[in-house]
Amino acid sequence: MTVLSTASRPGGIGTSPVRPDGDLKVRGLFAFSSDLSAPEMLWGHTVRSPHAHARVEHVDISRARAADGVVAVLTAADVPGRNGFGLVVDDQPVLAGDVVRYIGEAVALVAAETPEAARRAAALVDVVYTELDPVGTVEEALDPRTPPLHPDGNLVRAIDIRRGDPSRHAADVVVTGSYTVGMQDQAPLGTESGLAIPREDGGVQLLVNSQWIHADRNQLAAVLDLPPAKIDVTLAGVGGAFGAREDITLHAHLCLLALASGRPVKMVYSREESFVGHVHRHPAVLRYEHGARADGTLLYVRCAIDLDGGAYASTSWAVVSNAAAFAVGPYVCDDVEITSRVVYTNNPPCGAMRGFGAVQAAIGHEAQMDRLADALGMDPVELRLRNVLEEGDLLPTGQPIRGVVPARRILEELRDLVGVPPLDPAAGLLEMPGGVGNVTHGEGIRRGVGYGIGFKAGGMPEGIRDYATARVRLLPVRDGSEVRVVAQVQTAAAEIGQGLSTVVVQIVRSELGVADVVALPVDTSLGSAGSSSASRQTYMTGGAVQAACRALREELIERAHESFGHRAGSLLEHGHEALLRDGGLYAEDALVAPLTALVGEEGLEAVRRFDHRPTTPYGVDGQGEPHLQFIFAGHRAVADVDTETGLTRLVRLDVVQDVGKAIHPVAVEGQMQGGTAQGVGLALMEEIQVERGRIRNASFTDYLIPTVLDLPPMTTTILEIPDPEAPYGVKGAGEPATISSTPAVVSALRRATGRDLFHVPVRPWDLIAELDGLDERGEQ
C-alpha cells in the first residue's frame, strides 16, 4: 500500500501556532458562558439549604410567586423526569425532595425579569426544615450506629490492593506517618453560568461552560424526561474548569426554568455560590508505613487512605481508585497492602479536581520518602533513584509498565539542576518571606531544597469503554478566480482553556497538508468526545481527528488512482511515499493531482470514532490492568522560611515532565506552569474551611489562590518519551505537574525547618519551632 507520511508543517504538530481564540480573548470579545444574552431573557436564582442535614417539611412558594417580576418558581415537584443526577450514580437531587444533605444544596428555583428580582424572590421562598444530626467525619460515617445518608449506606467505595506480603519482612528501618490534606477548590476564574433557550419543538438548547457536553445531555434527558435529540448542549466560552465542570451544576436548573417559563433563562453564580455550587478536591487522611533495608531498598508499604466524599457521590468512585493505585508513587515495591475508602458525609460534595486522587497520594508517598531518607541518612533523590520504577516493573495492581519509564530521567534531571543561590543575609525586604510587611530582617530565615515526583494514569480506567469522535471536511472555496481547499474539523471536545481547539487544527494541518483549518463550534450534533479530563483529550480526540484525516487521505489516494489512472498509479506504487502538501497530492517530488481536483465541487468528509485499547476492572486483591497510560512529572522547589513567623517564600521552582510528544510545546509549558501553580496553592494556602458542614471562606478574600507574587521564577523541561500505543506517542499533559508540585514545596519547607509537616496546606504555625505540638495531627 501507499505510505502517506506525516511531515512537519508550518502550524502543524510540534509547532506552537497562536490559539485560534486568542485574538478574541485579548480583545474582550470572546463569549464566555456568562456573556450571553437573548431577547426576552429572564434571570434565574437558586434557593439553597442553610442546613447540612435536614428533613424538608414544607416548601411554600406563594410569596415568591407573587413578587414583582417573577415568572416561575420551581421545586422538586416540578421535575418532570428523574430527580437525580451524577456522573457515576445519579444520587444527587436536582432539587431536594424530602431531605437536604449539605449546606448549599439546591431546594427551589426562581426566574424573574432581572437578576435583582430573582434574588429577592428567592429569599421569599419559605422552606420549613427539621434539622437532623449531620455526619461530619469519615469515622462517624462508618460508625454502625450512624444512620445511612443514602440507601446503600455511607461507604461509597473501598478499594483493597494487595501484592505479596508486607509481614514477611523484617525491615532495618520503618517509617510511619499520618498525613492530612485539606479540601481544595478548583477556583476557575469563570463561575458557573449559562443560558437555556426553549425550542419550538418542546426541546431546549443549553449554552453552558462544561467539560463534557454529552454527559451533560444524557443526565439532562433523564431529568427533563426528553429524548436526547431534543436537547442541544452547546459549549459556551469556558473560564477554566480543572474538574469543577465535569459534573452538572446549574445545567438542569436552567433548562427547567426555560421550559417552565417558555423564555430564555440566564444564570451566573457569584463567587460565593460557586464555592457551594461545584464539587471540590477530596480532603484526605493518609496513613503510611514504609519498611526499608539499610541500603534504602524499599521492602514493603502499607497504606490506608480515607477520603471524605461529602453529601453526594460525584466521581468519588474513581477518585478513591486513583488514590489507591498510585499510593506507593513511582517506586518498585513487591509487598504492598493498600486500602482506600471514600464515604458519604454531610460536608460539601467532592469530586474531580486536576490530579484526581493522585494528588493526595503523592503528598503521602513523597513525605514518606523524605522522612525515610532522613531515617536512613540518605540523600532523598538517591533514595528515590534506588527504588524508581523501570521498564517492565509491576505496579501494585500487577499491571506492568510498558515502554521506557520516564521517572529515572525526571529524577536525574532534577538532581542535576544547578542554581540554588545561597541565602543572602543582605537581601532586600522584597526577597524575604513577608516581603514589605517588614516582619523580618533575615535572622530566622532558613532555606530548603525539596524534591517531589508523582504519576497517575491518563485516560479513563477500569474497563470503561471510552471513545472520542471527530469529523473532518475538505472543502473547495472560491477566492476570486482561484479555488483552494480548506479544512474544517468538528469535535464535541470541550475547550476549557487547555488549547484543544489549537491541537485539532494542528493535527489536520499535519495530516492533510492544508494550511487553512477551522475548528467548528462544539455542540452535541456530533458523537461524544468524552470528557476534557483525565489528561485524555489530546490522546482521544486527537486520535479521532487523526483517524478521520487518515480516512480522507485514503479517499484522496483512491480518487487519484481513479481519476488520474496510470500516471497516478505508477507514481503511487508500493513503497513510494505520497505526500499532501502545497494544495496537492505528491508522490516523491512529482505532483499527482491538485487537491482541488481530488476534492471536487462537493468536498469530502470523514467521521471517525477512536477507541483506546481496553483496560480491565480490578480483580481479586485489586489486581488487573486498569490503566491506559502513565504520566509523570517531578519538581525541585527552593523555599525560604522565616522560622520565627512561619512565613514562607518560594525562591525557585523547576518542573520536568514527560509528555510523549509535545503537540504544542508552548501550550504544554502552559499546562506545566499552571499545574505547578495550583500545586503551590495546595502546599501553602488553599484550604476550604468547613465547620459543621459550612464553608467559612467562600470568597477570594478568604480562600487565597496564588498571585504572581507568590510564584518564583520557574524552568520547564519537557521530555518526549513516546507512548507507542498513543497517536503521535502523546501522553496526557494536563495533570502531572499538579501532582508533584505540592510535595516538592512541602519537602523544601521540611528541609528548611527540619520539621515533619503532616498537614497540607502547611500553615505558618506548623513551621515555628516554639509552637511545637500545636495542631499537629501526625505520629512522630
Binding site: K25, V26, F242, V268, G497, G499, Q673, G674, I705, T707
Partner: protein, 158 residues
Amino acid sequence: MNLDLHVNGRDHHLPDVPVWESLLSVLRDRLALYGAKNACEQGECGSCSVMLDDEVVCSCLVMAGQATGRRVRTVEGLEQDRVCAQVRRSMVEKGGVQCGFCTPGFVVAGTGILAADPDADDETIREGLAGNLCRCTGYTKILEAMADARETLHEDAS
C-alpha cells in the same frame, strides 16, 4: 437615579439605575460590554479592570455613579490604543492566554503599567499585576508577554 456615563468615547444616558449598582454591572448588563469580567465582584481578582481616566480600577468596586464625569475605557475601548494593541499581541504570541477569563483584566492592567512607564522593569510589572488573578497560566507566560510588549514598543518607537 439617572446616570450619565462616558464609556469608550460615547455618552450614555441611563435612566432608573439603582444607586448601589456597580460600574461593572452597568457595563455588562446595561451596555452589553462584556469585556470586563466578574470573577469575584469583591476587588480581589482584577478580572473587571477598566480605565477610569488614566487609572486602572476594579470596576466591581466602583459605584456606577462615581464614574460620571470621568472617562471610562474598557478593554473594548482600548482597541485602537497603541500600547494596548501590543500587549494584546504579545499575550497571544507568548502563550499568556489559556481560558482567557482573566485576560481582559491583564490586558487593561498591563496597558496601564506600560502607559504609565514604558520602561517599567520586570519587578515593577510583577507588582503591577499582583492584583490580577489567573488560575490557568501560573503567570510565567503573562510576565514574558509583558516583557515582550515592553521591548517591542521600544523597538517600534526607536
